[in-house]
Every structure is written in structure tokens, then in C-alpha cells.
Assembly symmetry: C2
């Protein structure tokens, strides 16, 4: 636990919840009668309301992106490396908004929430949500906060897909799109890994068809497996080699099925921790949202035509060793944007850490990302900041 | 089913079983009192007994490598593409021996066999077996068949590891080593995938600590998951893209958890079929044998010093899109051999099919492999065949 909150932290933050009482019709054609969204904000909205930045979270993320909920928190929010005073997303300049997406399990309405119509948890009755749905809800949150236009919408991985969808669906409401370690749609291999994760959960006897809440249990084994396989795809082969190699926990072969190699210990621990903190039904929804994401489907599978909707400027960042969403996937986005004459900066950052690089304070990455964010003009910024962008 | 057996098939073949009555002490220090090995042979052993080729199988392989067991078989043996009259491993020239390794589930003694001491299936009491153990048993089989020296020992993937071990442990008994799509040891990522497969099986409630036979069940869900995740690593991203892309089974999004994408359907089918035909305890043993394989451990982690033991010639083949055992892993073997002045031919074959390429009749691959095999001198071969090697 932090005895002292670091000087470059946003400090102690408190989540807020907004209730949306109007029915929301989703892409799957089903309607939610009402729902809650939990969010946090860091920094101050300026008088012209033109310095707001939206953070879109990835598969297992949530609204708590920066700072601490209490002095006894052992860790800050999930993107604290990049959000704070003087950091890449500088809270002295920007008003940062971070939410838990619809269907989540960290406070926003999701499968583990009570269905007002039945008084039971939604469970498998919660409707399927898509990236497009999330962006619609984020637009409602922007309305609620009286934010007409985001200075920037920012996200990595599945978060980057939400950024792309913002640029396509609400071109007038976003000035800058920052798309990190993402892809314009999943590959067959990406879908295959998601399917393994889903089948791990669904085939766990404790899943009970998604109604495990009523049995006072949850598909722990399935969640552990899902996270283990997911985690392998988040790290590069090189990162795993550097981190664990073939190191043995006891220094010798044990000829048994307990943990022998350090990498086994690490994966089991990751899975175990995750399984205690994440709702299985939400995990299923998130993987499906990933699979469905394919904005070009609405534009005859022409990504350039799709991105032609956008009016904002783009920063696209990939990482050389990311094999979940390799640099080529980012280049597809960049090519489509360039074909349409859009303003795009592309950086393929040489980093050994794989997909998870986007969460880390890797200097080559944060330098580029930070310089771009500094260059975004806002009314509240110093005059000098207006030049770069 | 084949109405007519193809002309280039070895035809109808029958497995044979040899019982080894002497106790065998394994690398894990435990002793098996006796055991059976099932094997098949194709072609004829010549008078000088110098034309024998040993086939080493991979993770889920077995003794039935070529031909048919009956006219009603729908498929031939697992490497029929490469073994037969006029094929790469030409049965008009070679006497081919293919066995099911110790610990297997296709006829050789393994966890599903009855333990003579208890009258029950061995289950989790079956000792851990290593690549080195398998090679020792293969040497006993060679003794039984009165084969003093193999013209060649051949294998892909885990099979290739057995070939390496042959060259190291029995240098006088092998003239040619053919190591395909293999590696000198697993990487941390390889081990990580194996660990997911193992945890899938072990955490399945139907595993019953490995004693599922007594409960008249088996860890079907775990085996399906293990095979699904394994299968992803056998195919290249490119192969998956070409085979399935993002094709939808029904042509539209269903917004549910049933199969939507063709790749999901394929993986579930692969897992389902595999789970009905493979013993879970054997799968666990095979993945551990993979993890443990690291012959350089006996030689101060110096692969060159390790390979210095070998006296045979080598053909090493890798495939450009194999991401389970990428070409660099084969190059490590080749570099070690060259450092010791060994005779090695290396081919990195440009093929989009990934790791599974080694099982397929890919012309660039079979041309090189076939030419090498043709060049191996044997007493029974035509004079012209002696020139190339």
C-alpha cells in the first residue's frame, strides 16, 4: 500500500454512477429498459468544455483507470502509467473521463446486475452488447456531462476499437482518435482463442447455463483457463522467454503435475487472481463484442469507405512484438485512413513486451503518445501547446 | 471408405504387439515391471538388414502411420501422405517401423492399461515418461526386430525430438536423422500452452484425479479444450484465414453463444472428435515429455556439445509459418551441428500451413524430403541410389 500518494498521481478518486432511465435498443435488437454506468473523472473540465478525453477500456478493464480509491489501495488504476499530472494524458491539461462499459462487472449494469423485471441477476438473459452499443452509451454519458465534443477518444486493444467506432459513428463529436495495439476486426485466430476461452467457461459445470449466481458459485475453473490462454496472447514469446525462460521452481524436474516451470506458476496465479475478480458472463460478452467488431461490414467490407466517415485526426500505435494484434493490423487502419486523405500519425513501436505494451510506460511509446496529446489544442492549454497539432 | 485401396498405398496392414518382460527403469527413477509395445511395419527388411526406417510419432500420433486396417477404413494411417510405394519414405526401398510410444493409448502400455500389480488401470500411477525413455524402448524394439542400425530415424514435432535423442544416445545405431518442424527444447510459450491443456484436463470434475476409468467416465470437456488450444498452435494464422476467415455459419450474427463463425465450428469438431479417441492421462504424459525435453541439460546446456555425440547425417526441415516450432528453433539445431562439423542439410520450406505442414504432401517439402531419402544408400537399393548421399 502507498504510504504516500505519488506526486504525479491523480490522487484519491471516487467513482460516480449515472442512471439512464430511458430504454436503450441495442444492435442485437433487444432493449434494456434502463441501466447504470459507473465512471470516474480526473482533471478539470475547462470553461469552453473542449478539453475532455474519453478513455475506452479493453477486455478486462473498467472505470478505475488512474489514482487510488483509498490510502490503503495496493495498486492504482489500470492505466495510471499514462494518466496523471505531467503524464502522457496530462490531467493538468485534460479532463479525463473513464467508464465501465455496459455489460461490465465493475458497477455498470451487466449480467451480474439485478434485472428489475425479475428481481434476479440478469445472467444469460443480459442482451449481447457490441462496440457500437458501447459507443452509443458513451455518447449518452458525454451528453450527461455536457461534453459536446471530445478533445480525444483514447483506447488500447478492444478500447481502440471503440475509438474507431467513435470516429465512424460520431464524426462531429471527436477531434482526435488514439488507437493503440488494435485492429479493424478480429482474425480467425483471434476468434479461435476467444472461442477456447468461452468454451472453458461454458463447459464448467459451475456455470449452470450462466445462472451460477443462484447457486452461490461461479465457473472458477473456466475463468482460470480463459485467463491463462488469454494471458499467453498478451505477452510476446520474447517477453515470456526473458521473464521465465525454462526456469524451474525447485531447480529440478519433479516428474509430476504440480507446478515445475516458473511460467506455469505465473499463469496459474494470473488465472486464479482474475477468477476471483471478474464475472464470467461479462467475460463472455466482452469476447463476443470483440468477435463481432467489424465496422466495414456496414460499408460493403470496404475499410477505406468506412473510415471516410471520420473527420478527426488519428494517432495509431502498434508494437513490434504484439502477436494478438500485430503491426500489420494497425497498418490496415492507417492505409484505409491515408487512402481517404485523413490526417494520421502512425508509430510502430519497437518493444519486446507484446500486446500488453500499451499498458506500460515504455519510453519510445509514451514519448510519441505524450507529444501527440500535448499537441492537441484546448482553450485551457498554454499558447505554446497549440502549435504542434 | 475406400472402395479400392490406392496403388501407392502400403495396403492392408496389421499391428503387432511385443511384450517386454524385463523391468524397465525410467528417467524419473521409477520402474515398470513389464510392458507391451504395439507397432506396424511396411515394406521388407533386406538381407543385410540395413534398410530399416523408424518413424517417431508426435503428441497424438500412434503406430498406424500408413495403409488401412480394413477395407472399410475411411482414412489411412496418419502419415500415409509420406509412406508408401513410390512415396517420400518409399516402401519398395525401406522397411518402415512405426510404433505407439510407451505411455500411449493405442495399444502400447500406458495409463489406460491394467496395472498387473493392482488389476486396475494405471491411471495417475503410471510413471512419467520422457523422450529419452521412449528412445530406450525404441532401441529394445530394434533389438527385437534384429535391427542393429537404422538407415534413418524420422519424425516431426515431438517425433523430431526423439530423432535428436537417437542421434545423441545411440550414435552407432542411426545413419540418418530426419528432424522435421521440431525444436531442441520448448520455449516458455510452448510450456505455457501445454500447461493450459493440462489444467483443462486436470480441473475437469470428470478427471477424478486421473482415476476416471473407475467412474466409467473421462474428462471430455477438458480434452476438448486441450485439443482446441493445441489445434490453434498447429495452424498458422494465414492458414486459418484462408480456411475460415471471418465466415459465418449462418451468414449473419446470431448474438448468442452457439457456433457463429466457421472457425468455432471447426475447433469444436476437432476437440469433440479427439476427446472420443484419446486418453486424457496419455495426453498429460505427452505434454510433460515435451516440456522435459532438453537434451543439452546433460551437457551443461551446450547444444553443440550435445550434438557432438552424433555420428549420423542430418536432414532438418522447418516451415516458414510454423509458429509452434518456428524456423529459428530448427536453426538452433543446425547451428549446433555445423559448429561440430556434422553433415547437415537444412531446408526452411515456404508453406502457409503452419506446424501441421509436416503431415502434408506439400511439393516443396516432399521433393526435398524424398530426394534425401532416395539418396540414403541401402544394400537393397538400385546402384543409382547410392550417389546422392
Amino acid at each position: 500500500m502507498p504510504a504516500v500518494i505519488p506526486a504525479d498521481s491523480v490522487g484519491i478518486v471516487a467513482p460516480q454512477t449515472v442512471h439512464f432511465a430511458e430504454p436503450l435498443t441495442l444492435e442485437c435488437t433487444r432493449t434494456l429498459p434502463s441501466f447504470d454506468i459507473v465512471y470516474e473523472t480526473y482533471g478539470e473540465l475547462n470553461a469552453l468544455r473542449d478539453n475532455a478525453v474519453l478513455i475506452c477500456h479493453a477486455l478486462s478493464g473498467h472505470h478505475h483507470a488512474a489514482g487510488y480509491h483509498s490510502m490503503s489501495d495496493s495498486k492504482p488504476g489500470w492505466w495510471d502509467e499514462c494518466i496523471g499530472p505531467g503524464k502522457v494524458i496530462d490531467t493538468r491539461k485534460f479532463f479525463v473521463v473513464s467508464l465501465n462499459n455496459l455489460g461490465g462487472c465493475n458497477g455498470s449494469t451487466g449480467p451480474s446486475s439485478l434485472n428489475p423485471e425479475t428481481g434476479q441477476n440478469y445472467g444469460p438473459d443480459f442482451p449481447m452488447v457490441t462496440v457500437k452499443d458501447w459507443v452509443s452509451v458513451q455518447a449518452l454519458l458525454a451528453d450527461h456531462l455536457l461534453i459536446e465534443q471530445w478533445a480525444a477518444v483514447v483506447g488500447g486493444s478492444l478500447g481502440g476499437m471503440q475509438v474507431l467506432q467513435w470516429a465512424i459513428d460520431y464524426p462531429a463529436r471527436i477531434r482526435h482518435a488514439v488507437v493503440i495495439a488494435s485492429a479493424p476486426k478480429l482474425s480467425a485466430q483471434n476468434i479461435a482463442f476467444n472461442e477456447v476461452a468461452r468454451q472453458s467457461i461454458i463447459s464448467d459445470p459451475d456455470f449452470h447455463g450462466g445462472r451460477y449466481y443462484q447457486y452461490d458459485t461461479y465457473p472458477k475453473r473456466g475463468l482460470i483457463l480463459a485467463r491463462m490462454v488469454g494471458h499467453i496472447t498478451y505477452l510476446s514469446e520474447e517477453a515470456m522467454k526473458q521473464k521465465f525462460g525454462r526456469d524451474l521452481r525447485s531447480g529440478q524436474f519433479m516428474y509430476g503435475f504440480d507446478v515445475e516451470f516458473q511460467v506455469e506458476s505465473y499463469l496459474r496465479h494470473q488465472g486464479e487472481t482474475f477468477s476471483r475478480n471478474f464475472d464470467a458472463n461479462t467475460y463472455l460478452l466482452m469476447t463476443k463484442a470483440l468477435d463481432y467488431f467489424d465496422p466495414a461490414r456496414e460499408y460493403e467490407n470496404d475499410l477505406a469507405r468506412t473510415m471516410a466517415q471520420a473527420q478527426c485526426r488519428f494517432l495509431v500505435i502498434s508494437f513490434t512484438t504484439d502477436w494478438r494484434f500485430p503491426p500489420e493490423r494497425s497498418r490496415e487502419i492507417v492505409d484505409a485512413l491515408m487512402q481517404e486523405g485523413k490526417d494520421v500519425v502512425f508509430a510502430d513501436v519497437d518493444a519486446p513486451q507484446g500486446h500488453d505494451s500499451f499498458l506500460m510506460a515504455i519510453p519510445r511509446y509514451t514519448d510519441i503518445f505524450g507529444a501527440y496529446m500535448q499537441g492537441i489544442p484546448t482553450a485551457g492549454a498554454l499558447a505554446g501547446d497549440h502549435d504542434a497539432s
